[in-house]
């Protein structure tokens, strides 16, 4: 059975990525935990390294339906890229700054937005919010392009405060109006029209003649405030790391209530949030420092299987378990539709609130999709991940008794912490045909099929729904 060191590293990799193969975990087993965290926080791989490779394989990635291809490749990169945390931080910010691509007729700008999160996601929050406020996809999604001096559109101003930084209760309706006025003139250049040439990106432009230069008061600061000033004030408010800290906790540590409840109910672990707030304050808003605090904390290390996997994580964990494909393959393009069927259409959230997480990922329809997808990934026993599990079990000396058969599959697939009941049901199934044997080719083939079926049952289990 796996050592505590393996279990802890498996937990870490499930959270900063979508899990790791047993070979990868064994390579980490003897390295100091904090050193692994440092490496994850400071990846050497350039961001988005595979963009050109995938473009060569899949010219369709540049079609107007761009997000399907690109978000599939995103999942591939979380699972197989050299910098899982960077990809996962991009996913985190996409959950928080939920932007949908369909509204603007320049789909590529959502791809640029996600690439931006990949680059700046572990940077300073001030820069992250500034980049976000200048992102054409966001400017279009929340209508800041329609926010004019003397004719404000408060959509971005409101959500910047309510959903992207401080949360309800930390500001007034007047602050929203002041924020909206401060962001007047922040818009994007008209992109090349979608038809007939296809989607093109846009770029930020500041129109000084459309900016409201009158005095405004925002959370106590008065003056001819511009967008930068608003962000400056926001980053200095304690409400900001408190709210975003709870987002980090919900995304990386353990399931929280849904966001609308946060202004009313206290966090699941108030001390954990305090630690994140302190780290944010000490580092002046450096997300790398905050994530270092989080990943090295006891509250993180002990929170195993405390989160329901998001659809992107469920898909990612299943393809990581099968460990196929490791190179561009058309199968990859089915992953984004798969997460959509499970309730998470990447780059196209249901609203600016993003997705409800935790238990709300699970209902009859989405559970069926999750089980069906995961089973399909491990059905083919020739996939490298399944083969690796078969080889490890086959390498035991002699026959493998049914109990050991169950325990080894549960261990190598995670370790997955099966409840007594689940284990009992699986053990009954294992004992139907007695011990696994690998003496002859026929025996090996039969045992391989049995291990494959056991894996299918393990990924169908209630426990596998958690990370």
């Amino acid at each position: 059975m796996a050592s505590e060191a393996i279990e802890l590293r498996a937990h870490l990799m499930r959270r900063v990525g979508v899990g790791a193969t047993r070979d990868e975990l064994e390579a980490l087993e003897d390295r100091p935990y904090e050193e692994i965290v440092e490496e994850l926080l400071n990846p050497e791989e350039p961001a988005n390294r595979d963009a050109d490779l995938f473009d060569r394989y899949f010219p369709a990635l540049r079609s107007p339906d761009v997000p399907v291809g690109t978000s599939s490749v995103w999942i591939f990169n979380i699972a197989n890229g050299g910098s899982p945390l960077r990809e996962k931080m991009a996913l985190f910010w996409h959950h928080v700054f939920a932007t949908g691509w369909y509204k603007g007729e320049h789909g590529p700008s959502i791809i640029t937005q996600i690439a931006m999160f990949r680059e700046n996601g572990l940077g300073n929050l001030h820069q992250i919010l500034l980049d976000l406020s200048r992102n054409p996809s966001m400017l279009s999604w929340l209508d800041n392009c329609q926010n004019h001096a003397g004719d404000i559109n408060e959509n971005y101003g409101r959500e910047l405060l309510e959903l992207f930084s401080m949360g309800i209760g930390a500001y007034s309706e007047d602050d929203i109006k002041a924020a909206a006025r401060a962001f007047t003139g922040w818009t994007f250049e008209q992109p090349i029209p979608l038809y007939p040439t296809g989607g093109y990106d846009s770029s930020f432009i500041y129109r000084a003649d459309d900016h409201d230069d009158d005095e405004k008061t925002f959370l106590g600061r008065t003056g001819n405030l511009n967008g930068e000033d608003i962000i400056d004030v926001i980053v200095g408010q304690e409400a900001t790391p408190r709210f975003l800290g709870r987002h980090l906790y919900n995304f990386f540590v353990a399931d929280e209530e849904q966001v609308p409840a946060w202004s009313i109910d206290p966090p699941r672990d108030p001390e954990a949030i305090d630690q994140l707030v302190a780290s944010f304050t000490e580092s002046d808003g450096d997300m790398t420092a905050v994530m270092r605090t989080l990943l090295n904390s006891e509250f993180f290390k002990s929170a195993r299987y405390q989160r329901v996997k998001s659809p992107a994580e469920l898909v990612g964990s299943a393809i990581k378990l099968a460990n196929w494909p490791q190179d561009p393959d058309p199968a990859i393009l089915t992953w984004s539709p798969a997460t959509a069927a499970m309730g998470q259409k990447l780059m196209d959230p249901p609203s600016v609130e993003g997705w409800h997480t935790g238990k709300e990922w699970l209902d009859g329809g989405t559970l069926s999709e999750r089980v069906n997808f995961a089973v399909e990934q491990v059905m083919d026993t020739s996939k490298p991940g399944v083969q690796s599990i078969v080889s490890r079990i086959a390498s035991s000396n002699g026959a493998v008794e049914p109990d050991a058969f169950v325990d080894q599959v549960l261990d190598l697939a995670g370790p997955v912490p099966a409840s007594e009941d689940t284990r009992k049901v699986l053990a009954e199934f294992a004992s139907e045909e007695g011990p696994l044997t690998f003496g002859s080719d026929d025996e090996r083939e039969h045992s391989e099929a049995r291990i494959g079926r056991m894996l299918q049952l393990v990924v169908s289990s209630p426990e596998y729904q958690f990370a």
Partner: protein, 382 residues
Amino acid sequence: MAKINGKDPVLVVVQLTGGLDFMNTLIPYTSEAYHEARPTVGVAADDVLPMNDTLGWHPAAGALKELYDAGNVAVVQGIGYENSNRSHFRAMDIWHTTEPLKVSTEGWLARVTRDIDPNTENPLTAVSFGRGLPRALAAPGVTATSVGDLDHFGLMTKIEAEQERAQDLDIFKRMYTPSVGTGVVGDYLAQTGRDVLAGIDMLRDVPSQYSSTVEYASNPIANALRDVARVHTAGLGTRVFYTQHAGYDYHALEPETHPRLLTELTQALSDFMADLREHNASEEVTVMVFTEFGRRIKDNGSGTDHGSGGGAYIIGDHVDGGLYSEYPSVKPEDWLYGEDLRHTIDFRGIYGTVLEQWMKMDPTQIVNGTFEQITPYKVTAA
């Protein structure tokens, strides 16, 4: 249990996500204040489909106007609640839980489902179509089936060997037992797993049994209402159906978006009623269409921002068609906060109306109080 011609009353809820612009659906076209406030998104008096001397339908709502003219639509004018919340998410939460002042995890339709089927004898008592289960249908211990794709609803569908699949499903069932659950999420997950199996068995033959001469359009709300028709006409005992139509948050480009959505919605509703009538399955059904809030009175030069004082629509064969409650005053001196329509009836009274008068249930515990009702039905269950 009260019946309509021997059939159990059925409620179909249609949620319009994002905030339907009530003022631009049923338009006060003779009001100068309306036209002044909405130079961009306003509909010219000549373009509306007049209902009376002061109100007219948006030209894209023709299909709903026909149902209205036939006497099948009760328009609930000015629906809302005190201190209407302008956040989509909090507002939708309030509509789903009937709790404007605190966060609740219990949806009102989940409470309805629990009242109808306290021992969860039928996993299809409440069925929701579309992405995820709405909070309105979620509560601990309450089963509601969520169907993303009625035509491919099943478990382990990729396993081709029948015997293997049957064994896997049996093992699945035993893994998802109540005792597996550790804590609330585990219990919920175990229950969900078992409900999936039961629902799959019941829904398997629905698509092949259904046929209709009604040709629905292809868009999310038309697809969802067609699915409601398919399941309802299969007679599986479903009492609460839930569907959603998204995209109404038109801060920008409202003149382009609003008519498209209204056309999709009203045509789908009209096709749905025609389909049910063709199957002699309409008279037991009442449809309630709602949205989380109305929109700001003044437009913003391209669209409208979040407001209050919206509208709801109750549709059915036995509806006493007409206007209910009062249209919120459009006079600038009456505007709430100087910019919003004032609500004229509380939404919990409309839920109460449908529950008490149509579903024949006591609404007090479900909507958490007693609220003013309307009388939109000519005939009710007896």
